[in-house]
C-alpha cells in the first residue's frame, strides 16, 4: 500500500483544487436556480430559437423550470466536463509522469513488482475520483437543501453515478495510454475528454450521428435520457467499462515490459 498512500499524498492538491472548482460551480448554479425560475418562459423562447443547439444540450426534452431539468442541463455540463478533465489528467499522468520526471528510476529500483505499482496507481486514481464525486455530491445536495427545494434523489443520484462511471472509463482509457507514453501529456487526456464531449453534442443534434452515443461515455450521462428513462442505458455502460478494463489490462502488460530510459 506504500505506492497507493504515496500517490494519494502526491495528488491531494489536484484533488482539492478540482473538487473545490467543480463543487463551488455546482453550488453557485443551484443557488441561482430560484432566480432563474422566474425567467423560464423567456429562456424557453430563447432556447427554442437556437434550433439544433437546444437538442445538443438536451434542453428540448428537459423542463428548465424544474430543479431536475435545470440541474441536469446546467450542473450536468459542469459535472461532466469538470469530472472528465480531472479523470483524464489523473489517468494520463499516472504512469508516464514518473518517466517524464525521472522518478521511475527511484521507484522501480525498489523491491516492488511493476504490476503492483500499476495496480496501486490505478487504485489511487479511482479513490481520488470517488472522493471528488462524494464531496461534490454532498455539496450539491447541501445547496439544494439550502435553497429549500425538494431533492430529486433518483435523478440526482443517477446523474452523479453516471458521471462517476464516465470518469472511471476515461481514467481507465487514459491510464492505458499513459503506459505507452514516455512523459505525461496533459494535452492527450484533455483533448480526448473534449472530443468525446463534442461527439455527444453532435449525436444529440442529428439522428445520423446517434451511433456516437455508443462510443462516447457522455452518451450515458445525458441528463435528458436519465430523466426520461429513470435509469442508465446498460449497453453503453457495459461497453465503456469493458473498454476501460481492456485499456487497464494493456497498460499492465505494457508497463511490465517497458524499458525505463
Amino acid at each position: 500500500m506504500t505506492v497507493l498512500k504515496h500517490e494519494l499524498r502526491q495528488g491531494r492538491t489536484a484533488l482539492f483544487t478540482w473538487t473545490a472548482a467543480i463543487g463551488s460551480l455546482l453550488m453557485l448554479c443551484v443557488f441561482i436556480f430560484p432566480e432563474t425560475r422566474g425567467d423560464v418562459d423567456e429562456m424557453g423562447r430563447l432556447f427554442a430559437s437556437m434550433g439544433r443547439f437546444t437538442a445538443a444540450f438536451g434542453m428540448d426534452r428537459l423542463d428548465l423550470g424544474t430543479l431536475t431539468g435545470y440541474y441536469c442541463v446546467e450542473c450536468g455540463t459542469i459535472l461532466g466536463l469538470g469530472g472528465a478533465f480531472f479523470a483524464s489528467l489523473a489517468g494520463i499522468s499516472a504512469l508516464a509522469k514518473e518517466e517524464g520526471d525521472r522518478t521511475a528510476e527511484f521507484l522501480l529500483t525498489h523491491p516492488i513488482a511493476r504490476g503492483l505499482v500499476a495496480a496501486e496507481k490505478l487504485a489511487a486514481v479511482l479513490i481520488q475520483l470517488a472522493a471528488m464525486d462524494l464531496a461534490v455530491l454532498a455539496l450539491a445536495l447541501a445547496s439544494m437543501k439550502w435553497i429549500g427545494q425538494p431533492i430529486p434523489w433518483r435523478e440526482v443520484l443517477l446523474l452523479h453515478g453516471a458521471n462517476g462511471l464516465l470518469q472511471a472509463e476515461l481514467a481507465g482509457i487514459c491510464f492505458g495510454i499513459s503506459a505507452f507514453l514516455r512523459r505525461s501529456s496533459a494535452g492527450i487526456g484533455v483533448g480526448l475528454a473534449a472530443v468525446l464531449y463534442l461527439m455527444n453534442l453532435v449525436s444529440n443534434m442529428t439522428d445520423r450521428a446517434r451511433f456516437l452515443k455508443l462510443i462516447t461515455p457522455f452518451g450515458y450521462c445525458e441528463g435528458a435520457d436519465i430523466v426520461a428513462d429513470g435509469r442508465l442505458s446498460a449497453g453503453p455502460v457495459v461497453l465503456g467499462m469493458a473498454l476501460a478494463c481492456a485499456a487497464v489490462a494493456a497498460a499492465c502488460l505494457r508497463y511490465g515490459r517497458k524499458d525505463i530510459l
Partner: protein, 293 residues
C-alpha cells in the same frame, strides 16, 4: 556465490547499440570498478542489471538470482545509486528516505539518522531546494540505509565535493569490509585505482578488459623517459612518443630485451622506466581505439 554474473548480455535500443555480449563476473566481497567513457554502455549495463531495461539477449544473475525472473527478491538485497538523481517534488528529504524504506518494508530509522549525520544531510530540506550534491547525498542514504549486500552505484561521486567524496568512499570501504560487494561505474580512473580491487573496462558496448586493478594498470606497458638521444625507430611497441630537446618519453609494450638494446646503443644521461597508472593505460587504449589492452 558470485554477486553479479552476466552471460552474453546484449541490449539494443532499436538499431542503436547499448551493450554487446557482455560477460562479466563480480565476486562477492569485491570492490569492483566499471570504467568507460560517456556513451560506452556503462549505464545501459547497470540499468539492465537493475531491471529497468530488458536485455535483447543474454542473461544476468544477481546474488544467485535470475535478474529477470527474481527481480523483487534481488532488489530487496541491493542498494542502487543512479547517475542522475530525481525525487518527487514537495517532499522533504526525511519523507523521501522514509518512502524508500517503506517500499522495502524496512524500518531504517537508526541507519538513516547515522548516515544523514555522517554525510551532513539536513533531512528537513525540501527536494526542490536541494543542490546536486545534496540530491546525491539523499540518494546515497537511500542506497545504503537498508544495509544491502550489494551496492550498484552509477557515477556515484558526480556532484560531490572532494571532502564528501572522501567521506563517501570511507563509507563504502566500511561496508565492503563488513561483507558488502561494491560495483561502481566511473570515468574518473583515479577513483577506481585508489578504491577498487578489481575492474572492467567497456568500450563501444563491449568489455575490453577485466581483472584486478593491479593487473589492468600493469599490462606489460611501461612508461619510459630518457634524457639524451635514443633511436626508437626500430623498436616495436612504442606509442605516445614525445620528443623533447632533452630526450624522449614514450609508452612501451614490446620486448624488454629489445628496449634495453636500443637504450644501450643510445647516448643517455638518464633513464627511468615506470609502471604507468591506470588512467594512462586507459587513455592510451582509448586514443588508439585498439581491440584491447
Amino acid at each position: 556465490m558470485d554477486a553479479i554474473i552476466t552471460e552474453g548480455l546484449t541490449k539494443y535500443y532499436g538499431k542503436n547499440r547499448g551493450i554487446r555480449q557482455v560477460d562479466l563476473t563480480v565476486r562477492q566481497g569485491d570492490f569492483f570498478g566499471f570504467i568507460g567513457p560517456n556513451g560506452a554502455g556503462k549505464s545501459t549495463l547497470i540499468r539492465t542489471l537493475m531491471g529497468l531495461v530488458r536485455p535483447t539477449a543474454g542473461r544476468a544473475r544477481i546474488l544467485g538470482l535470475d535478474a529477470a525472473r527474481d527481480r523483487e527478491r534481488f532488489l530487496a538485497r541491493v542498494g542502487y545509486l543512479p547517475s542522475e538523481v530525481s525525487f518527487y517534488p514537495g517532499m522533504r528529504v526525511r519523507d523521501i528516505l522514509k518512502l524508500s524504506a517503506d517500499l522495502r518494508r524496512r524500518d531504517c530509522a537508526g541507519a538513516r539518522d547515522r548516515l544523514c549525520q555522517r554525510l551532513r544531510l539536513d533531512p528537513s530540506r525540501r527536494a526542490e531546494e536541494l543542490s546536486l550534491g545534496n540530491r546525491k547525498k539523499t540518494a546515497i542514504v537511500c542506497a545504503l540505509q537498508h544495509e544491502p549486500e550489494l551496492l550498484i552505484l552509477d557515477e556515484p561521486t558526480a556532484g560531490l565535493d572532494p571532502l564528501m567524496q572522501r567521506a563517501f568512499f570511507d563509507l563504502l570501504r566500511e561496508r565492503n569490509r563488513q561483507g558488502a560487494t561494491v560495483f561502481l561505474s566511473s570515468h574518473v580512473l583515479s577513483e577506481i585505482q585508489h578504491n577498487c580491487t578489481r575492474a572492467a573496462m567497456i568500450r563501444d558496448g563491449q568489455i575490453i578488459a577485466d581483472g584486478t586493478v593491479a593487473e589492468l594498470a600493469g599490462t606489460g606497458v611501461k612508461r619510459v623517459s630518457v634524457r639524451g638521444t635514443v633511436d626508437c625507430g626500430a623498436l616495436a611497441g612504442v606509442r605516445d612518443l614525445h620528443r623533447t630537446p632533452e630526450g624522449a618519453d614514450f609508452l612501451y609494450s614490446g620486448d624488454i630485451s629489445a628496449l634495453l638494446r636500443a637504450l644501450s646503443a643510445g647516448d643517455l644521461r638518464d633513464v627511468t622506466v615506470t609502471e604507468p597508472d591506470l588512467e594512462e593505460v586507459f587513455l592510451q587504449d582509448y586514443q588508439r581505439g585498439g581491440g584491447g589492452l
